[in-house]
């Protein structure tokens, strides 16, 4: 019953958004709460029942459930065709269809669940802000788009959701549109995402053109059919293009730059969109296309390397940032890097697992930081915090749990997922892939350090608050603390779903996802006989001592990070010195300025800064094209005009003096000259003519008389 009406899940929040759009301005806050929060609560409950019903439907086989509501593009009977790459035709058919399988079930649950908690939290956080209904309208619209994205059964529907969440992200980053920095950040997010979206749509359409269907099921089935070689260049290109899209949406190198700036939006938005849900859309899309990626080892390597580099790069920046939300933003980028590292080494389930646990603890961290900011009357700079441990105890406790989770302390959620990723990185491919393990390991150390740095600077160290702020510090209302507590419980427990075999668990999470992912690529060898070719030993389940060693090492890394942070910041007074700044000032400057990436982009891509006299990038291109336009195009136009004028001057002269002068006026002048004697007889005085006539008559008379 629920499963058959799965399309209602995105429609609940859509209803809320539409209501806010048309009537929001006139509604009381209580009504806004009832409609918008209610819509998401209903969606969550509905989603829970749907997933329960689905598990009965699938019976543990992971058989996907598909529901086509109507044909959106193309014709339902397949009369509208397009030509595939091999020259055969395939039906052009895009449905408003919904797909529920283990992968989308997981996303469905945590998106609606975390989304619901953040909606509730927002009623407290945004209580004193203007544009209340606008905020909730956008938030509901986001939920609609995100649910469309994860429930879509084909690439075009996914793209609708993909663009929808991008739009909502833009709207919500720019929520404080009167602040210049907010609207700039919104534009930045939108434009950078546009680059990724271009890659995504190209990749998706390449797949459609190559494999002949828009539907995930068909595409994955075709990729697994064994008709394609591993390393098929077109599939590789498609996978790489899809990954460009994932880089944009999920903030990977080199397109991650928008995410830290996205912190200009209200904190619940950062928690929901820029930490828990939207930024994982790239991971979802790659995981969704796993059968294609497995056939493209180059793309997989790219994903793994980009993921690992992003993880360590963002973590290094996070080490020294002072804005509490920026630290968390870089942490998000770094954790997303982990997820892509997992996907890249073929450990799809581990990557998804990390998405799942990360959604809880990162949402909690953001909401906690929002609670801190709320308590500090809007202060975000950790240099002006400190000593909040006993002033806002609930926020402190829950955030501490989240910190333990993200740092990977046993038995909190992050431990299981991060450890799984590191273990898979180490074991699944071997060889040079182990370098990636070292990078991931270093990142884990940094993660522990910057997270405990955040905790110490905010909660433990002596107070550095100004007197006014200190006076107003207060714990947040129930509507905010209750979601924090629930998320804290999830941050502890979510990891237990994937309790590994090595620790005596059964790793139910991976079992649940198993049917979705292609572990090995199936290729067709000659004689039409299909054979399995393992592209490395994926997701190995066997337990060996190395796994325990690695587990111990990552715990040790978390411990070391914790100890270093404690030593450096426990007693951080009003003018504490960053340890990195003291030891390596050059490195500190580099990290503090985020490796000067934004500046570099300004030089190379946007052209807001000049290299000497040369301006590169978009503005440079604009200037160059303006120069080209005014000098070359307009110059050519003007030159042509000049030539025309010269020719026409000549032509005028010719016309005036030769045609008119010689040919036309010449005969006339001649005629006038010849007619001059004749004119002398015609002087125009009628009476003279009469006189002459009379004289003539008299003359005749005299002549005849005298003759």
């Amino acid at each position: 019953m629920f499963l058959n009406h799965i399309y209602l899940i995105p429609l609940f929040p859509a209803f809320g958004a539409v209501m806010m759009f048309f009537f929001g301005k006139r509604l009381q806050k209580a009504t806004v709460n009832a409609v918008c929060v209610g819509a998401v609560v209903v969606a969550f409950v509905f989603a829970c029942f749907t997933v329960v019903e689905y598990t009965h439907f699938a019976h543990g086989t992971g058989h996907p459930f598909e529901k086509v509501v109507y044909t959106w593009l193309g014709s339902g009977d397949g009369h509208l065709n397009f030509v595939k790459r091999d020259g055969t035709s395939a039906a052009f058919n895009v449905d408003a269809g919904f797909l529920l399988d283990p992968l989308s079930s997981i996303w469905l649950l945590f998106v609606t669940g975390v989304g619901m908690l953040i909606h509730i939290y927002s009623t407290g956080y945004m209580a004193h802000e203007g544009g209340y209904y606008r905020f909730f309208g956008y938030l509901n619209l986001f939920m609609f788009a995100m649910l469309t994205l994860i429930l879509a059964n084909n690439y075009m529907m996914l793209f609708v959701g993909w663009e929808g969440v991008g739009l909502c992200s833009y709207l919500l980053i720019g929520f404080y549109f009167h602040r210049n920095s907010a609207s700039t950040a919104a534009n930045k997010a939108f434009i950078v995402n546009r680059i990724g979206d271009a890659g995504f749509i190209l990749g998706a359409l390449t797949l459609v053109w190559y494999l002949g269907s828009f539907r995930f099921i068909d595409i994955n089935a075709a990729a697994r059919s064994g008709h394609f070689a591993i390393g098929d260049p077109i599939l590789t290109a498609a996978a790489l293009l899809l990954f460009v899209g994932a880089c944009g949406k999920s903030a990977q190198l080199p397109l991650y730059v928008w995410l830290p700036d996205a912190m200009e939006g209200p904190t619940p938005v950062s928690a929901l969109i820029h930490a828990a849900t939207m930024v994982t859309a790239g991971v979802y899309m790659v995981a969704r296309s796993n059968a294609v990626f497995v056939l493209a080892p180059t793309a997989m390597k790219t994903v793994a390397i980009v993921g690992a580099l992003t993880a360590v790069f963002a973590a290094s920046i996070g080490l020294v940032q002072n804005d509490i939300k920026r630290v968390l933003a870089y942490s998000t980028v770094s954790q997303l890097g982990y997820m892509f590292l997992a996907l890249g080494v073929g450990a799809f389930a581990a990557g998804v697992f990390h998405v799942f646990t990360h959604a809880f603890f990162k949402a909690l961290l953001f909401l906690g930081s929002g609670s801190v900011i709320h308590a500090m009357s809007g202060e975000q700079d950790m240099r002006n915090m400190g000593g909040l441990q006993h002033r806002i105890p609930t926020t402190f406790k829950t955030m501490f749990i989240a910190t333990l989770a993200i740092a990977g302390i046993f038995p909190f959620a992050g431990f299981f997922s991060k450890d799984e990723i590191l273990w898979q990185t180490w074991s699944s491919e071997g060889g040079a892939y182990r370098i990636l393990w070292f990078i991931g390991y270093g990142t884990a150390l940094m993660t522990a350090f910057y997270m405990f740095r955040l905790m110490y600077l905010t909660f433990f160290s002596p107070s550095r608050m100004s007197h006014d702020v200190e006076h107003h510090v207060h714990e947040s209302p129930k509507s905010m603390t209750v979601p924090l507590v629930i998320l804290a419980i999830c941050s502890i427990g979510a990891g237990w779903l994937g309790w590994p075999h090595s620790l005596g668990g059964s790793d139910r999470f991976e079992k649940f996802l198993e049917p979705v992912f292609a572990r090995e690529a199936v290729v067709l060898v000659e004689e039409g006989k299909s054979a399995q070719l393992a592209a490395g030993e994926k997701e190995s389940e066997h337990t060996d001592n190395t796994e325990y060693v690695l587990m111990f090492l990552s715990l040790a890394a978390a411990g070391v990070g914790f100890a270093m942070a404690r030593r450096s910041y426990l007693k951080a007074g009003k003018d504490y010195v960053e340890p990195i700044e003291a030891k390596a000032p050059a490195l500190y400057t580099l990290l503090y300025n985020k490796w000067f990436v934004d500046e570099g982009y300004d030089y190379v891509f946007t052209g807001r800064r000049k290299i000497g006299d040369v301006r590169l990038g978009v503005m440079g291109a604009g200037e160059a094209s303006s120069w080209f336009d005014s000098k070359i195009i307009d110059g050519a136009v003007n030159d042509v005009g000049w030539i025309t004028r010269a020719v026409s001057t000549l032509s005028t002269w010719w016309d005036k003096w030769i045609i008119d002068g010689v040919c036309v006026n010449g005969p006339a002048i001649l005629a006038r000259m010849l007619s001059y004697p004749a004119r002398l007889f015609e002087w125009g005085l009628v009476q003279w003519y009469a006189l002459v006539m009379i004289a003539g008559l008299l003359g005749f008379g005299v002549y005849y008389v005298w003759k």
Partner: protein, 102 residues
């Protein structure tokens, strides 16, 4: 007193004719020119009537009636043209009526 003969009429008519011709040739005012033309025409009329009397039939008188009608028509047309012309040029001086002269 001698009788008034045809010759007398002819002399008077010739005098009238010459006066008319002189008027036409010398006056610059078109109205005067038209009046002079009437004099010429009436000189002719006088001749015709005189000859009619001399011959004792009515042919000449009949012509005279025609000429009187013709003169009236000519005066009407001429004065009409004259008024139209005066409206355009504000002159009736015959020397200045030279639009067709090149």
């Amino acid at each position: 007193m001698a009788d008034i003969t045809t010759l007398h009429y002819l002399v008077v008519a010739a005098a009238l004719f010459v006066l008319g011709v002189i008027g036409v040739l010398t006056r610059r005012n078109v109205v005067i020119v038209l009046m002079s033309i009437e004099l010429i025409l009436n000189a002719v009329n006088l001749n015709l009537v005189a000859f009619s009397h001399m011959w004792g039939n009515l042919h000449g008188q009949m012509f005279t009636i025609f000429i009187v009608v013709d003169a009236a028509a000519e005066a009407a047309a001429g004065l009409g043209i004259l008024i139209a012309f005066f409206r355009n040029r504000e002159t009736i001086n015959v020397d200045e009526i030279d639009l067709l002269k090149w």
